[in-house]
């Protein structure tokens, strides 16, 4: 396994950095936040990203994708993370594309993947139902009633659910009070958010991204709406690992940017007649953060590779990456605010955005504690 980018990947990363700096610096996020619209991202920007091949970055070329793999997507996410760019990269390019590609039948793939690649179709994964990531614990179900399949349940904290053209809903194959063994099986359904019985409510979170609650009130679906087979638990787990690693790459980018801005501030801000970065106590804390960032880089890079190489240790890599990204981004975002002093807690400065994003990102796809436990379980202790 190589932990450095090859030439092609490096080129992609450089392009991403330039693109984001030009088209979506942090001021772009600030504008979106102040607009406070429901979509929380710029559709123009998403179109441009799709034109660069990012929407289809995990999609095979036969379906219009660029098939750059997770290492490629990770490089892009790190750069968007640096500038806190809201976009459907994770909800659509990662989750939607992977789920359809891995679980879908040929018709579904032919129909949907090219639309995703072109940036015309965005998706949202409706999975979790409580205040923390807990994919095994869901009540939403879809069963045959009379002639129809009927989907019923409530999903919450769905990322990008309000802007998605298509919802991918994870449901039990039997009602929750059914305690048979088959209970552990799960299906996914493709649901048009405009369908009768689908009720979407915006949730306003501290990081000003798009989240919502979705109620499925006896929503009628067809067999053809099922994404692939009747039991896709294995695929869901695989794709969630991708998502854990993808968001880790984004979090790494945010941590790197918050750190860079802080180092710059330490060099610029003068007190007691010298730059505050000349004070050794701050220097040592900065050097420690640097070390943790280096470890986080390696963990994320290792995990991205593990997916592309289909390593049999990829599950542990996913928790390694998410744990380190969570811990490091928390450390760096706290220290960044503290080292900025008074201006750090003002809304006028960008640095507080990293703090707000950090805690939400930590919860998405499992908190640090969740992954610490998971790493130990996977390591058999």
């Amino acid at each position: 396994m190589s932990l450095t980018l090859n030439e092609e990947q490096q080129l992609l990363k450089d392009t991403a950095r330039e693109f984001v700096q030009k088209n979506a610096p942090i001021s772009h996020f600030r504008e979106l936040r102040d607009l406070n619209d429901d979509k929380c991202y710029s559709q123009d920007l998403w179109k441009k990203m799709a034109d660069l091949g990012w929407a289809g970055i995990l999609i095979d070329e036969e379906y219009g994708g660029s098939n750059f793999g997770m290492v490629g997507l990770g490089a892009v996410l790190e750069e968007t993370g640096r500038n806190l760019v809201p976009s459907p990269l994770i909800s659509t390019a990662l989750l939607g594309a992977s789920l359809i590609q891995l679980a879908g039948n040929e018709n579904q793939k032919k129909d949907l993947l090219p639309k995703i690649s072109e940036g015309k179709l965005t998706t949202a994964l409706a999975l979790d139902e409580g205040a923390r990531h807990d994919p095994l614990n869901i009540s939403t179900f879809c069963v045959k009633k009379e002639k129809n399949l009927v989907l019923e349940g409530r999903k919450t904290f769905v990322v990008d659910g309000q802007s998605a053209n298509l919802l991918i809903v994870v449901a039990r194959n039997s009602e929750p009070n059914n305690k048979e063994e088959s209970d552990a099986s799960r299906s996914m359904y493709l649901v048009d958010p405009k369908k009768p019985g689908v009720k979407i409510t915006k949730i306003s979170m501290v990081d000003s991204r798009s989240y919502c609650e979705i109620i499925f009130d006896k929503v009628k679906v067809n067999e053809e709406d099922r994404l692939g087979e009747q039991n896709v638990v294995g695929i869901i787990d695989d794709v969630l690992e991708r998502a854990q690693i993808g968001i880790s790459a984004e979090m790494l980018g945010s941590a790197l940017e918050a750190f860079d801005q802080t180092i710059q501030y330490l060099k610029d801000r003068k007190q007691f007649g010298k730059p505050i970065g000349s004070f050794q106590a701050l220097q040592h804390r900065a050097a420690h953060m640097f070390s943790e960032l280096e470890l986080t880089k390696s963990s994320v890079q290792g995990a991205l590779n593990a997916i592309d190489e289909n390593s049999n240790d990829k599950s542990r890599y996913a928790s390694l990456a998410k744990f380190k990204a969570g811990e490091t981004l928390n450390l760096v975002s706290n220290e960044a605010v503290q080292m900025h002093g008074g201006v750090g807690v003002t809304d006028e400065f960008d640095i507080g955005f990293f703090l707000k994003r950090a805690r939400v990102a930590e919860q998405i796809f499992g908190s640090s504690d969740y992954h610490l436990d998971r790493y130990a379980v996977l390591s058999e202790y």
């Binding site: 409580g130 205040a131 923390r132 919450t156 904290f157 409510t201 915006k202 949730i203 306003s204 979170m205 501290v206 990081d207 000003s208 989240y211 609650e213 003068k270 007190q271 007691f272 007649g273 505050i276 004070f279 106590a281 701050l282 928390n330 706290n334 605010v337 503290q338 002093g341 008074g342 750090g344 807690v345 003002t346 809304d347 006028e348 507080g352 703090l355 707000k356 805690r359 939400v360 919860q363 908190s367 504690d369 610490l372 436990d373």
Partner: protein
Amino acid sequence: MTNLENFRQETKDWLNENCPPEMRKPGDVSWGGRKARFSHPDQEIWLERMGQKGWTCPTWPKEYGGGGLTKEENKILQEELFAIGARPALASFGIWMLGPALLEFASEEQKLEHIPNIVQGKIWWCQGYSEPGSGSDLASLSTKAVLDGDNYIVNGQKIWTSNANYSDMIFCLVRTGSQEPKHDGISFMLIDMDQPGVDVKPIKLISGKSPFCETFFTDAVVPKSNLIGEENKGWTIAKRLLQHERSMISGMGLSAGGTSKKKISGLAEMAKRYVGVDGQNRLGNPFLRGKVARHDINSRAFSLTLQRMGEEMKSGGPSATASMGKYYGTEQNKLRYEIMLEAMGFNGLGWEGEPFSPEELAVTREWLRSKANSIEGGTSEINLNVISKRVLGLPD
């Protein structure tokens, strides 16, 4: 009956008669001021009665309107107030910070002019210390006051002035002497904000709230009689006042419930509510359980430490160890909110509206607000400097 027993009975009787029923419930506390607004008519009555009696500042001398109580009498008063669940009649920087400094450094005339107004909540005071270029390095401040006849003319800018938009007057550090040596040209003066030369602009924080302002002085006029102490000798007053500020902030950590007589802490209780318990009624997430227990232990040890320091304090007023309290208390408070967020998951990260409860939304905002705790009133770094140099005697 001893004098103290007597005093207790009298206090009981007085409170019984004078504390309005509404003020015996939890609720907001008045900050007084010229344009005082009260959320309930009883609040005004309560403030007036307590102010008249001097019990808003129970141990301050009677001649300046204070309660004139001894330490022991004050303890009894606080116990009796606690017993009936009485709300404080007044909160203010005048009580916590300016008053003690005036008592120590002001002239007799100044004391007679300003202290009774503090006791009775007639003036809302704010603090004008930091400037954009002078945060931790407070002594480098450059707001200038030039004597012109009987008045100083003040020009410059202050920042982090708490609630300046509601305040009547500001106690300010200004430069009356040369910039170098920087500690020697600073004076401490009281400025009336109700004049054309003073402008105030609220600062929006990451929490979305604006508890602080920027305050601009453009040829603001300050009578010479509002200079406290000698010209250019304000730094001594400033340092003393900072100690009062630090003790005040470190005391805030107490509300975290370390001394509560209840078995289970508020933190553990809320964590159980959000995370659930295992078969043995232990908090369901063992990692979180460890963090909560560690925080509970440290909160309790910290409360005990404030108590011990209070007992050890021979002379009045806080010592350099106030820096320890400020440092540890604010770091604990920040950690407390981080643990709450961990316990609450997405529920602790709401910004507004459904599906969050008002309490949940308050946690998010307070978590963000807590980040300023270790910055305002002297950063953790400055307080660690003070401990290492003034308490431990480590060299420069």
